[in-house]
Symmetry: C2
Subunit: 335 residues, 2 copies
């Protein structure tokens, strides 16, 4: 009954990131015709992403980062915060095709969710920043997003005793802790807590064979067998690599605009599939509304395949199993 792989997993109980631990209790011992063949191609989501050595995860930094994330007064209009586009009510994204920012200006790209973004190896659609610290200040300063001068933003924060206290608590020992770097570090720290563990997909990988429906399991098999997994792999279901793609309605040159390298023309970082069912619309321009259509586009564009309707339905059902538990948080009371 047991493949070598399954037995190996049972004697290596916890290898941390990347290890698949099979439960020995319950029905995990019985193969469902899929688990032994497919489960070890995937990785469940760890509780936390990697934490950089120079930005430790502390309670005080999380709290400060949460305040800053919901703080509209670091935008020039005073009404746009990170949470405006990364809206917790909307899968921490905005569910419109392209982001709307300062004075109603519409950007070129779809807002990516911040959920599980700490698991990505680069940030922004074009990967122009290596980490969340590098990403955090971009939208504050961008003319069509929050349109704020960073020094003015720091001045506004400085004016509140509560922010002086919160920065001092988050960065003990620093004489003047209200700096752009520390804003970025706090925002990155808060975002590293916005993870969505325990999706049906994760519970299945951990050995609960009832966590997926048969249709979802067939979708999992199709996902592997058709090669989707070549790029959508690892805990966040992305290889963090850049691939050229032209989706309906997009002329965006993507990573080429950063590197000037012909090979990067129309290339974007593989998006995470975690919570993909609740982070519509899809692609760099948000040009596709449904997961069904997005799946067909990906089949054609990346795999040169025309999925039949049944396969699309199974793949979509499988991706729906990747919706995890949303972060438990309270909106902070700002000063």
């Amino acid at each position: 009954m047991f493949s070598l792989g399954s037995n190996l997993r049972k004697v290596i109980p916890a290898l941390g990131v990347g290890a698949v631990m099979a439960f020995t209790a319950g029905n995990a011992a019985a193969d469902d015709g899929f688990y032994d063949q497919y489960a070890d191609r995937f990785e469940p989501l760890p509780a936390l992403p990697p934490i950089p050595a120079d930005n430790s995860l502390t309670k005080e930094k999380i709290e400060l980062g949460k305040m800053l994330f919901f703080e509209p007064r670091i935008s020039s209009s005073g009404v746009i915060s990170c949470a405006t586009c990364h809206n917790p009510a909307l899968g921490w994204a905005d569910r419109i095709p392209r982001a709307v920012g300062h004075e109603g200006q519409v950007g070129e790209r779809n807002t990516p969710t911040v959920l599980n973004s700490g698991f990505l190896e680069s940030q922004f659609w074009d990967g122009r920043e290596p980490d969340l610290e590098g990403q955090a200040l971009g939208p504050i300063e961008d003319d069509i997003e929050m349109a704020m001068d960073l020094d003015d933003a720091l001045d506004r924060l400085e004016a509140f005793d509560e922010y002086q206290d919160a920065f001092s608590a988050a960065y003990p020992g620093e004489d003047a802790p209200i700096t752009a770097d520390n804003v970025a570090k706090a925002l990155a720290t808060f975002q590293r807590t916005l993870n969505t563990p325990n999706s049906p997909f994760d519970r299945y990988l951990r050995g609960d064979l009832d966590a997926l429906t048969d249709k979802q399991k067939r979708g999992m098999a199709a996902f592997v067998d058709n090669g989707c997994i070549a790029c959508h792999r690892g805990p966040a279901l992305t290889d963090s690599q850049f691939h050229s793609i032209q989706v309906p309605g997009s002329t965006d040159k993507g990573r080429y605009l950063i590197t000037g390298d012909e090979a990067d023309k129309y290339a974007f970082r593989t998006p995470t599939l975690r919570n993909v069912a609740v982070t519509y619309p899809y692609f760099n321009n948000g040009g596709v509304e449904t997961l069904e259509e997005a799946t067909q586009v990906m089949g054609r564009e990346m795999l040169n395949r025309e999925f039949d309707d049944e396969t699309v339905a199974e793949l979509v059902a499988f991706m729906e199993s990747m919706t995890g538990e949303m972060p438990d948080f309270q909106v902070p009371a700002l000063p």
Copy 2:
């Protein structure tokens, strides 16, 4: 030691709205030199405001109303919800002088908090709507707020199975419950739950003589003795009446624009003082940043008095005691 008033309050333990219940335990039996003279001029905040006979408060309507309150897709841009200006992180208001709405347009007036708004006898600065049901749809349709055609908003809601279910649950027995009226009723119902009980001021009124500092008690005395209480009275500390006032920088004709009545020129409804310390800036145009300055302006404009610095500090300390417990809520997960 005991006035007749205090004894009467002790033998009438709970009269509901408007009744002041004195604790018999602890130090309530001892007069602090203020309680007997001043406490019965005020009313603690009841747990809930009056509920209209034709819009009962149900769990299902609260849940639906909460979804709608956080729903940006009932704005034409898809990014402005009620919670954009009535931001729970900012005292359910916006803490900027005048509201910023569709495409960055700036309105004429300061955003009032929705906290305790169910206790008001009319809505909007000019009182043009009698209740929250009447108020709810205004900002959705207003060209400079959410700028949305109401029928289009209903169409967008109709497109979601989750809203069809939520409306059916909130309005059982109705064949086509997704109507403008029902949107208004649900929003009003949710807002009636956004109350801030148990402020130090309320705890004091209920007999906890230590809930206010001595400075705050002197402020309470000044508030009564100087006549602030003439207009700022009742559970929400407003008479819900209209008074002419011209605050710095404002040329807004107020209620006159609604009634055409000369007597209403520059008249606005007395704002609530509940949570006034966290709902700055002040007045119809948000033209005054601090509670100290607002207090001085009110002394001059409404009472023809020049408060000395000590009195201002005491009045401000007293008003700071009116900050209650913020509503406990979770941001809804929208479809």
